[in-house]
């Protein structure tokens, strides 16, 4: 093997010269085409010169001289990972319980609302934290919530999120035999609508998506309508606005009714 290799990697070996030469030749021609010729053939690619053409073809990010377009509304500043708000301490939960006194009038003393406000008991901490933060920064606007959130510190929001996550949530109530509405379980692929259940529970949960089981029907409906009209836009990738815009009023009703379902009160 070793003496073969010596003979092989030699300028006198035609196999070596030809194979390396042909390969290098093909590479050079292809690279010149891809990095010089093709960029220049694209009239909409405004190039400052040869080096700019090469950089653009290599995927090096351009520094644009123009200012990026700014949205005319506040966007959410919250970035969530699976580790955000993990491992709440008992102190944090306790402080959250004290702070939550001011929330109880709408969201209920144990996080279960009697006023068609969202039930916060057992809600994911990332959700409570993000919504509070969005109310504070103005990414989400609500006449009642905004003034409350303006006075909360970052730690206050973390504590509130920890407290509500700690409370037992309303159990889901979906009697067996009744199939969930199609919009919840299958979405509407032809309109680009993912199943509600793939993010909000029933099939799966995705980070940042609220748990919807047991939420008031009026609240779910109001939020879907707000997303559809563009009144609410703190979904950073516009995913809920795109979905809600394409949902029919009947589908909005079905989804809201499905998630809000609770056993009839005992008399």
């Amino acid at each position: 093997m070793s003496d073969e290799a010596e003979v092989l990697f030699s300028r006198r070996n035609p196999w070596f010269i030809r194979s390396v030469g042909v390969t290098a030749g093909i590479f050079i021609i292809v690279a010149l085409s891809g990095f010089v010729l093709l960029p220049y053939l694209q009239p909409d690619l405004k190039l400052a010169g040869l080096w700019d053409a090469i950089c653009s073809a290599a995927g090096v990010i351009h520094k644009s001289s123009e200012q990026p377009v700014q949205p005319d509304f506040k966007v959410s500043t919250v970035a969530l990972t699976s580790q955000t708000l993990k491992g709440a301490t008992p102190e944090s939960i306790g402080r959250g319980a004290t702070l939550a006194h001011q929330c109880a009038i709408c969201h209920g003393p144990a996080g279960v609302s009697r006023a068609d406000s969202p039930n916060l008991a057992g809600e994911y901490p990332s959700v409570v934290y993000k919504e509070l933060m969005d109310f504070k920064t103005g990414a989400r606007v609500n006449a009642v919530m905004t003034p409350f959130a303006l006075h909360l510190s970052d730690q206050d929001m973390i504590d509130l999120a920890a407290y509500y996550a700690y409370l037992p949530r309303l159990p889901a109530y979906h009697p067996s035999g009744a199939t969930p509405p199609r919009i919840v379980i299958s979405g509407a692929p032809m309109r680009g609508i993912a199943p509600c259940g793939s993010c909000h529970g029933a099939l799966d949960n995705k980070l940042g998506s609220p748990w919807l089981d047991g939420q008031p029907e009026a609240y779910i409906k109001a939020q879907l309508q707000a997303f559809a009209s563009g009144a609410r836009r703190n979904d950073i990738n516009e995913q809920m606005r795109n979905i809600a815009r394409r949902m029919t009023p009947e589908e909005i009703d079905e989804a809201a009714r499905y998630y809000a379902a609770q056993p009839a009160p005992r008399t």
């Binding site: 093909i26 891809g34 995927g59």
Partner: protein, 541 residues
């Protein structure tokens, strides 16, 4: 000289057993997604099944076939007992343990991420660790093939390496190098997140690393098939290899051009520069070279057999071929499917044409036609050809074999042609649910139904395949003459150093990997702002 029969049989049996299970899952997936079945109302089951089907069919099944076939080639062509048989069993055990370890979380619904992983989706760590173990097991095979060849070369200085072994070791080197891309992705990106050590992942970099593996892995699957074309088919039909040198050139060309082309899988990805997409597209076109060399050489070799059997004239030799011979039949079917699949591949590798079918069912149709069709049908042929020598019992039911091969061919055509068609119509792949009551989808229902019927035919063929192998399990043993591969019309007395070793071609393979992947990988790896939060599946938050 087959001395490690149990080892080789163990590889083939495990491969085919897992293949049988994954085949059932595939047919089930097609059925429940078609208009023949009411929607199961839970896409999770669908993706769980797709993950299991893909993981077994892409990683475990072909790897075990290549390993088992490789050991058989090493022993029969080098005429020396396998060096490192214990290590070979250890490699087998690693693949087995890895496959089981990966399949448990998949079955439990904890890793429904599909076999291509798709970060930022993250599943249970045992799934990924299982895949890594299986790959490590196969790397033991790579090392053993190299060691066995080296020992033979020492004992036979200057002699040409037998063609099947030359190709086999080339395939093992290709696998060793191409598996590194996915290994880097798993070890440095996915597994740390799956274990909870990190919570963000650079999905763009992961996709580029996976493309390093994703295309050349197809040529690794293809190697046993090509070895069978060149060195089993001519012998089985009473002919000879048209040219030994041409075969060697085709195999080493696969080493060189299989690697620097994977980014044609990322044409729609924003993180890769257009220049690199063009380079990869152009190099993909070069794959036609070893493919056409093979088509020419095999047709010429088969023509030799036809003429030896008395065929005359331009086409008379075709009629004179032994069409009742299962190996002949399998090779012909394989060529037809390779032809259609290859023609479709020309569309996939072209940036502009790809945009019309990117991520549609066309792609699913394409890789099933190439892998499930052209490649796997030759795996059946390899099994049929080797089995009597491994078990000592002849496979007597030629009619059953022919029926099996016909059904596989028909089933694969009926499955994949409608897939291509609905792909052109715009049907996306990786979708669990299609609402055929929608007026926009209703015209596609008939084609989806057809392809589901193809899936049923494939299951029938699978059942026949096991029937052929199992029927003779209790027959009395017979003494066979030694297993041998086809020889060339002019067997080489000596070959150039370049075609008797791999140094030059491995250098070109690594060089082109660096030139075509180096910058995009470095660019993404060095940027700090390219990671996104991981999305955990299977109920993990």
């Amino acid at each position: 000289m087959l001395t490690s029969k149990r080892l080789i049989l163990a590889h083939f049996w495990l491969a085919f057993a897992l293949f049988g299970l994954a085949l059932l899952l595939g047919a089930w997936q097609m059925l429940i997604r078609s208009p023949l079945h009411a929607w199961i109302s839970d896409p999770e089951w669908y993706y769980r099944s797709v993950t299991a089907h893909g993981t077994v069919m892409a990683y475990v099944f072909p790897t075990l076939v290549a390993m088992g076939f490789g050991y058989a080639i090493s022993e029969t062509t080098l005429e020396q007992p396998l060096i490192g048989r214990r290590w070979a069993w250890a490699g087998f055990a690693l693949v087995l343990v890895g496959a089981v370890m990966a399949m448990i979380p998949v079955s439990l619904g904890l890793a429904s991420v599909l076999y291509t992983f798709y970060p930022p989706l993250i599943g249970n760590p045992f799934y990924y660790i299982g895949v890594v173990l299986a790959v490590i097991g196969s790397w033991i095979w790579v090392a053993l093939m190299s060691i066995n060849l080296r020992a033979w070369k020492r004992a036979n200085p200057g002699k040409p390496v037998p063609l099947p072994m030359f190709a086999n070791v080339a395939g093992s080197y290709l696998w060793a190098w191409t598996a590194i891309g996915a290994a880097l992705e798993l070890l440095f990106q996915i597994i740390p997140v799956a274990l909870g050590l990190k919570s963000t992942i650079d999905a763009g970099l992961a996709r580029v690393l996976f493309s390093w593996t994703l295309h050349a892995i197809v040529y690794f699957w293809l190697f046993p098939t090509y070895i069978a074309y060149y060195t089993i088919v001519p012998r089985a039909i009473g002919g000879k290899i048209y040219s030994d040198a041409m075969a060697r050139i085709a195999f080493v060309l696969f080493l060189v051009v299989a690697m620097p082309i994977g980014m044609h899988h990322t044409f729609a990805d924003p993180q890769v520069g257009a220049g690199f997409k063009f380079i990869h597209s152009a190099f993909t076109a070069l794959v036609a070279l070893p493919t056409f060399l093979t088509v020419f050489t095999i047709c010429a070799s088969v023509e030799i057999a036809g003429r030896l059997r008395g065929g005359r004239g331009f086409f008379g030799w075709i009629a004179a071929l032994p069409w009742r011979n299962p190996i002949m039949l399998a090779a012909a079917f394989s060529f037809v499917m390779l032809g259609f699949g290859g023609a479709g591949g020309l569309i996939n590798m072209s940036y502009q044409l790809d945009t019309t079918i990117h991520n549609t069912q066309w792609i699913t149709g394409h890789f099933h036609l190439i892998f499930g069709g052209a490649i796997v049908i030759m795996y059946f042929a390899i099994a049929y050809d080797l089995w009597p020598h491994l078990t000592g019992r002849p496979l007597a039911s030629l009619g059953l074999m022919r029926a099996q091969l016909w059904l596989w061919f028909i089933g694969m055509m009926v499955t994949t042609f409608p897939w291509h068609w609905v792909g052109i119509l715009g049907m996306p792949r990786r979708m669990a649910f299609f609402d055929y009551t929608s007026p926009a989808l209703a015209p596609e229902a008939i084609y989806v139904t057809l392809s589901a019927a193809g899936g049923v035919i494939l299951v029938l063929s699978g059942i026949l395949f096991f029937a052929v192998l199992l029927r003779r399990q209790t027959a009395p043993r017979v003494e066979f003459e030694a297993y041998r591969f086809a020889v060339a019309v002019h067997p080489p007395a000596a070959v150039p150093a370049a075609l008797n070793g791999y140094g030059l071609w491995l250098a070109l393979m690594i060089g082109l990997t660096v030139s075509n992947y180096g910058f995009p990988i470095a660019q993404l790896a060095l940027r700090a702002d390219t990671s996104v939060p991981a999305v955990f599946v299977g109920g993990r938050e």
